[in-house]
């Protein structure tokens, strides 16, 4: 056990020595790997924020039943009671014409649009919230159909279509991210493999001597695998630092554009799990690249 620890320490030192000896080529490999991880990290950021938005919208999912002008307050209340009894409905809120006007005025630019209007053009409505476990497309459709058949309901509105479209966009971004990540990852793998191969050739004499004094095959190979892992992790840290810097530089500048694309102005940075995942991806690419280099070479 003690000997194994000393051997492990020696192997790590050998890997660090190898990195120092080929600082320029290793640096290029780390930089290339970092660029790929920044791209993959950007997709992760977008997807993570789209997920958050979907969760937020999902919890606010409701169907709006716009009511006919002629309905009295009592009839509206009666209608609301009937709607509340429908399966899957969690709560029903009556929104009067006045309340609808107030809410519209609070929205950005809403007050300006209302200037000059002599009477309130907005209808009264019922906001129907679904129970959390009944927020699927089928449930929304069923409640909408039931509402459409009720007297006094003029028109229906729901955020369901928007949610479905947004989810499709998220799937597209995720697919693009994976596709681009896979292609760039493969290219980077080749770069890391070639870097390790160059290091391997530069240290052939050392490997021969180590072999002659009784170093095992594992002992000869492990430092290169450690080099791959260290390069990958260094690239991961660099990529995270770059992403963090870019994120905090870009978010205030993009403002409205982000609201249009993501649906909100205050996106969040990668979670700890995503950040560790990015580091692990870097380390994984590094070690696989190193293993590929070793597989293609005949060591002493």
């Amino acid at each position: 056990m003690r000997r194994a620890l000393f051997q492990a320490a020696w192997l790590v030192r050998a890997a660090l020595r190898g990195l120092r000896a080929s600082a320029i080529t290793s640096g290029i490999a780390v930089a290339t790997l970092a660029v790929v991880l920044v791209l993959v990290g950007t997709f992760l950021l977008v997807i993570a924020n789209m997920n958050l938005l979907l969760e937020r919208v999902g919890s606010d999912l409701h169907v709006t039943a716009y009511l006919e002008e002629s309905l009295s307050a009592d009839t509206r209340r009666e209608l609301a009671r009937r709607v509340a009894d429908l399966g899957g409905v969690h709560a029903v809120e009556i929104v009067s014409k006045e309340e609808a006007l107030r809410r519209f005025a609070e929205r950005s630019g809403g007050a300006a649009l209302l200037e000059g209007l002599e009477e309130n053009p907005l209808p009264a409505s019922l906001e129907v919230r679904l129970a959390p476990e009944r927020r699927s497309a089928e449930d929304v459709r069923a409640v909408s159909e039931a509402l459409a058949g009720m007297d006094g309901v003029e028109e229906l509105g729901s955020s369901q279509q928007w949610v479905e479209g947004y989810a499709r966009a998220r799937r597209l971004v995720r697919g693009l991210g994976f596709g681009l990540g896979a292609v760039l990852g493969l290219a980077t793998l080749l770069i890391v493999a070639n870097t390790i191969r160059l290091t391997l050739h530069a240290r052939r004499d050392e490997l021969e001597i180590l072999s002659l004094v009784g170093a095992s095959r594992i002992f000869l190979r492990v430092p290169f695998l450690i080099e791959g892992v260290l390069q990958g992790m260094a690239a991961g840290v660099l990529a995270l630092a770059l992403l963090y810097g870019l994120f905090h530089l870009a978010v205030p500048q993009l403002g409205d554009g982000l609201e249009l694309f993501l649906g909100w102005k205050d996106p969040v940075f990668l979670s700890l799990r995503d950040a560790l995942g990015l580091l692990a991806a870097g380390a994984g690419l590094g070690v696989v690249g190193a293993a590929a280099a070793l597989a293609g070479e005949r060591l002493p």
Binding site: R2, R3, A4, L5, F6, Q7, A9, W10, A21, D205, E206, E208, I209, L210, S211, L212, V213, G214, A215, S216, R217, F219
Partner: protein, 241 residues
């Protein structure tokens, strides 16, 4: 002197090295070694002589499994090198020290680091590596040079580093390929004295050399190779001074 036939191989009960009709061929029909049989006992020092191309280096390479025989069997420390699996070679090499004519030192590592390599691959604790390396360098008279790099040292000093590396883990067999080939007469004697001292400590030693003056001076058992064949096996003390 004892002239040998192809089948002659002196029987030694405590032999650490045994060759049985060993041949090595790199090209069909051309032999670097041809039908060589011999035994070398524990603690014995043997010179391997012959002109360039006689097969001295090939014979040594077969003994530490850098090459495999084309025919015959080789027993080194009880292991059959002819059929030894790749993963078992390192274990054999840890028991066999090798000194090369071209030293095979790492130029960017210090003298101390070069010698320590042989212990580090075994997972020897750092403190023990330091003390044993220092003791070994002291034995070859280079303790004051331990922080230098090999290219800044003389040929004799580099050969002493190579010898120190070969001996630092106390091998049972020492193989030296022309260890004095590039050295002046004074350094030649210095290095050979160190090798002979190691044999006196119980290590089996094989030294390949074409320097017959050296062979006569030390009067050790001598094997003469020519064109890959073992032509003579001269017992210790049979050379005239």
């Amino acid at each position: 002197m004892n002239r040998l036939g192809a089948d002659a191989a002196p029987a030694r009960g405590d032999a650490l090295i045994r060759l049985f009709h060993v041949s090595k061929s790199y090209q069909a029909g051309t032999y670097a070694l041809h039908d060589v049989s011999l035994e070398v006992g524990k603690g014995e020092m043997v010179f391997l002589t012959g002109p360039s191309g006689a097969g001295k280096t090939t014979l040594l390479e077969l003994l530490f499994a850098a090459e495999r025989p084309s025919e015959g069997q080789i027993l080194v420390l009880g292991r059959n090198v002819a059929v030894l699996r790749e993963h078992a070679i390192p274990a054999l090499r840890r028991r066999v020290g090798v000194v090369f004519q071209d030293f095979k030192l790492l130029p960017r590592r210090t003298v101390e680091e070069n010698v320590a390599l042989a212990l580090q691959v075994l997972g020897t604790p750092t403190r023990e590596v330091r003390s044993r390396t220092f003791a070994m360098l002291k034995r070859v008279g280079l303790q004051h040079r331990r922080h230098h790099h090999p290219p800044s040292l003389s040929g004799g000093e580099q050969q002493r580093i190579a010898l120190a590396r070969a001996l630092v883990n106390d091998p049972e067999i020492l193989l030296a390929d022309e260890p004095t080939g590039n050295l002046d007469p004074e350094l030649t004697l210095e290095i050979t004295d160190m090798i002979a001292a190691q044999a006196a400590r119980g290590t089996t030693v094989l030294v390949a050399t074409h320097d017959l003056g050296l062979v006569r001076r030390y009067r050790k058992r001598t094997l003469r190779l020519e064109s890959g064949r073992l032509e003579e096996d001269v017992p210790a003390g049979a050379w005239r001074a």
